[in-house]
């Protein structure tokens, strides 16, 4: 039996039993359907600045990578060192690339040696939903959540069995295929997705000289990524839910460097998790999560045997969280978590493991038009000891359609294994095991509301980061010597305009290196994104435009990369019930620009895809 019919069947059966009526009369019992929009799991979206991107929006955008999709989203600036699969760095609200935490289905990802997330290898094809939370969130998510948190969810099967297949291709000899199967029956759900993409790419880097060595490698730099995502769960009588999820992506990317350094990487990204949710009482719900993520990299020189070096990070975590909600007006959450980071590398690190354990508590309360959120998380780190972070936020419903928000929060970033434990070089130490964490403090004011059919949101923030770890020329070691101040204003408006779904967001950022007064490198001070789309019967068309001001490529502010405007166009055609044709023209104006000095970006490129979707009975 189709699961969708069950409630109605149950209704019929039950009402017959209970009221003793004939089935005909019982059919009059139609349910009260209470609906609401899904709320962000990552943070309280009524107080934090949150953007949610659903699968539907991802599909309509036709973006083929996470970096392409997130580019230009409010508060996010992404720079890439070449095309698909090439090293990409994310600046959220102007913070450092290591100041954003990525979670996949609640499990932390990223390299603990380099202290960065491999955004370029997370396959967008596996992503069902993305939640972006701007602002400090270490008190919920621990290290790195200074600029914000990005949480990616894979698909959870729902409703009748359905499957889809997509195949497409385009410029730079790009090919892509995805197979998807999902569904639920009775108290079980399942989804699986397989995806493969390949591209010959283009020359990632123009000829240049780095540290006195010429780099001139004019061939195309290709990339491939094969991924498999699985998720399955079961609900027990009584309401407990047990769920398993796994995502594995692996592939290869070529890049440019000088001989004898590596010019190719084999990578693998993996996350496995299991979670159990159980209602202990009607008011107290308990969630236990255990997970493991891997970030593995093998680098080698093409055609040179025995040139392989590898850096593998493994992050294991366990967390227990209780949510106590007697009414909607008061929600108390509390719990503990344990993280264990490990390194396996061809480089013999001085230490290869460390743990962090923490407890946390959060209260959210509503009284009248006021909302209050308070959060605290003391932790104990094996390396740097104890550290406490917290948040305080207050919201006030000024009018039915206008809300004001003020918030304060602290966050931190633990030193990386490279900073702490990189082995000595020719007898000289290169790392510093006594480093403290980088610390931040953020103050934010916001206003949001709805007017004339448009939703609007305005945020003003100031973040000060202290103890930034840089290579200190005095001690010739990494040290906590830098400070930075980031001030910004973000504005977004969205709504329907003459039948078009439109959105606009603008950000003004002042990212300052407090030691020198210079602008922090690679951040654009002004960003604008416009998006517009509409359906005409079976056809859909859309366009997005991103404009960014110039940026400096170096800390000394001597190398300037010019600003640019990029136009992307997209269209789709529903051929029949099952078939859909999609097309996307990226960089339609063929703008020649760079986000990192000497690294090339894609020119005007056309991609076309055909999709078949079917819902089984």
């Amino acid at each position: 039996m189709e699961p969708g019919r069950r409630p109605i069947m149950g209704l019929l059966l039950f009402s017959c039993l209970f009221t003793g009526l004939a089935p005909e009369a019982a059919s009059a019992q139609t349910p009260v359907v209470v609906t609401a929009t899904r709320m962000a799991q990552t943070a309280d979206e009524t107080l934090a600045s949150v953007t949610v991107i659903s699968r539907d929006q991802i599909e309509r955008s036709q973006a083929d990578s996470l970096t392409e999709l997130l580019r230009g989203v409010t508060g996010i600036d992404i720079v890439s060192q070449g095309g698909a699969g090439q090293l990409s760095s994310m600046f959220m609200r102007g913070t450092n690339p290591g100041h954003v935490a990525l979670l996949v289905d609640g499990i932390r990802m990223g390299s603990v040696t380099a202290g960065r997330v491999s955004w370029e290898f997370i396959p967008l094809q596996q992503v069902e939903r993305i939640e972006i939370v701007r602002g400090p969130n270490s008190a919920l998510y621990g290290s790195e959540a200074i600029g914000g948190v990005i949480q990616v969810f894979t698909r959870r099967g729902r409703g009748p069995l359905q499957w889809s297949a997509t195949a497409g291709g385009g410029r730079y000899n790009s090919r892509e295929a995805t197979l998807d199967l999902s569904g639920s029956a009775a108290d079980n759900w399942f989804s699986g997705r397989f995806s493969r993409l390949e591209t010959d790419g283009f020359d990632a880097r123009e000829p240049t000289v780095e540290f006195g060595t010429p780099i001139d490698d004019p061939d195309d730099d290709g990339h491939d990524n094969t991924s498999l995502g699985l998720r399955a769960g079961h609900r027990f009588p009584g309401g407990s839910e047990l769920e398993f999820h796994g995502l594995h992506a692996q592939g290869n990317v070529e890049f440019d460097s000088s001989d004898p350094y590596p010019d190719e990487d084999d990578f693998s990204e993996q996350v496995l998790g299991v979670s159990l949710r159980t209602p202990l009482t009607g008011f107290l719900n308990l969630t236990a999560t255990a997970g493991r993520s891997l970030d593995e990299r093998e680098s080698f020189r093409s055609g040179v045997p025995d040139s392989t070096i590898h850096f593998d990070s493994e992050r294991r975590s366990f967390s227990l969280q209780g949510d106590y909600a007697r009414t909607d007006a008061d929600i108390l959450s509390f719990g503990l978590d344990y993280h264990d980071d490990r390194v396996d590398s061809s480089t013999p690190y001085n230490e290869t493991a460390r743990y962090t354990r923490a407890v946390f508590a959060q209260y959210r309360g509503e009284r009248g038009g006021h909302t209050l959120l308070a959060r605290i998380r003391p932790l104990d780190d094996e390396q740097f000891g104890s550290h406490t972070t917290g948040n305080l936020a207050w919201g006030y419903q000024l009018r039915p359609t206008t809300r004001l928000v003020a918030s304060w929060g602290t966050a931190y970033r633990a030193p990386t294994f490279n900073d702490l434990y990189f082995p000595d070089f020719m007898g000289f130490p290169t790392s510093n095991p006594d480093l403290d964490p980088e610390e931040s403090e953020t103050l934010e004011f916001g206003a949001e509301g709805r007017a004339g059919g448009f939703d609007w949101d305005l945020r003003l923030f100031r973040t000060r980061i202290d103890n930034l770890i840089v290579f200190d020329l005095a001690s010739f070691l990494p040290a906590n010597v830098d400070q930075a101040t980031l001030e910004g204003l973000e504005a977004t408006v969205s709504g329907d305009l003459y039948g078009w779904t439109t959105s606009a967001s603008a950000a003004f950022l002042n990212p300052t290196d407090d030691n020198t007064g210079n602008i922090l490198p690679r951040r654009a001070k002004r960003s604008l994104k416009l998006d517009i789309e509409r359906r005409f019967g079976k056809a859909g068309i859309g366009a997005s435009f991103i404009a960014q001001s110039s940026r400096f490529d170096d800390r000394g502010n001597t190398i300037t990369l010019g600003g640019y405007g990029l136009l992307d166009l997209r269209a789709s055609w529903q051929l029949d019930r099952n078939w859909q044709l999609q097309g996307r023209l990226e960089n339609a104006l063929d703008k020649d620009y760079q986000t990192v000095d000497t690294y090339n970006t894609a020119g005007r490129s056309l991609f076309v895809a055909l999709r078949y979707q079917r819902t089984g009975e």
């Binding site: 059919s27 019992q29 909607d328 039915p400």
Partner: protein, 226 residues
């Protein structure tokens, strides 16, 4: 067959609900629940199965009497309750045949007053099932604006259908309310129970006479992706 009619109506109603919700956008300012509530008309005959739903704003106080008054009842010749004259003569009067579903959107800040009662003729005691339907519709209509999606359930993605068993006393008081079938989530069960416990349905008096009626009220909680 009837199952399919009900299913069809439910799906159409849901589609309308979702359509309506998207049409109006998630006006999410207040911590805030924008609720789109879908009330489906009773499916009493097969003629309703092939009808396309049309969404309209539906004032709560027009619902039960007007709809019931015009519901086709080919197998019966008993008198049916009539809605107030203003509704009967209103040009926008709906029938069960052309409007199986109606939607009401109630923002968090919405007025929580129960809908006002519509005067109507009493039903002969013999026509028990019809009266029951009328009471059921009155209860559903009166209560639908009171339901809120619990915050913690929205955050955790909890959905499901709660079956509430309840007794409507002759004065419209609701008693003996219990969860007869769980949604699978205690939070949703409790929210539904609490909502009904704090309500009464004086509008139902007109169809109750001096009897009490036992009902099952299904409450379906469903989340929409923005």
């Amino acid at each position: 067959m009837l199952r399919f009619i009900v299913l069809s109506l439910a799906l159409h109603g849901l589609a309308v609900g979702i359509w309506y919700h998207q049409e109006t956008g998630p006006g999410e300012i207040s911590g805030g629940t924008t609720l789109a509530l879908v009330l489906l008309a009773p499916a009493t005959t097969a003629t309703t199965s092939s009808v396309k739903p049309q969404a309209e704003h539906h004032a709560p106080d027009t619902a039960p009497a007007a709809r019931l008054a015009s519901a086709p009842e080919p197998h019966r010749s008993v008198p049916v309750p009539a809605g107030p004259p203003s509704h009967l003569h209103a040009p926008t009067r709906r029938t069960a045949a052309n409007v199986p579903a109606a939607t009401v959107e109630t923002p968090e800040t919405a007025d929580r007053e129960p809908a006002s009662a519509a005067p109507a003729a009493t039903i002969p005691a013999a026509d028990d099932s019809l009266a029951r339907q009328a009471v059921q519709t009155a209860v559903t209509t009166a209560l639908k604006a009171n339901f809120r999606y619990p915050r913690i359930a929205r955050r955790n993605g909890w959905e499901g259908t709660v079956m509430l068993a309840l007794r409507v006393l002759p004065d419209g008081q609701l008693t003996d309310i219990l969860v007869s079938s769980s949604s699978g989530h205690a939070v949703l069960d409790r929210a539904a129970l609490h909502t009904v416990q704090t309500a009464s349905v004086p509008q139902a008096k007109q169809w109750l006479g001096d009897r009490a009626v036992d009902l099952v009220l299904p409450v379906e909680y469903r989340l929409l992706d923005s």
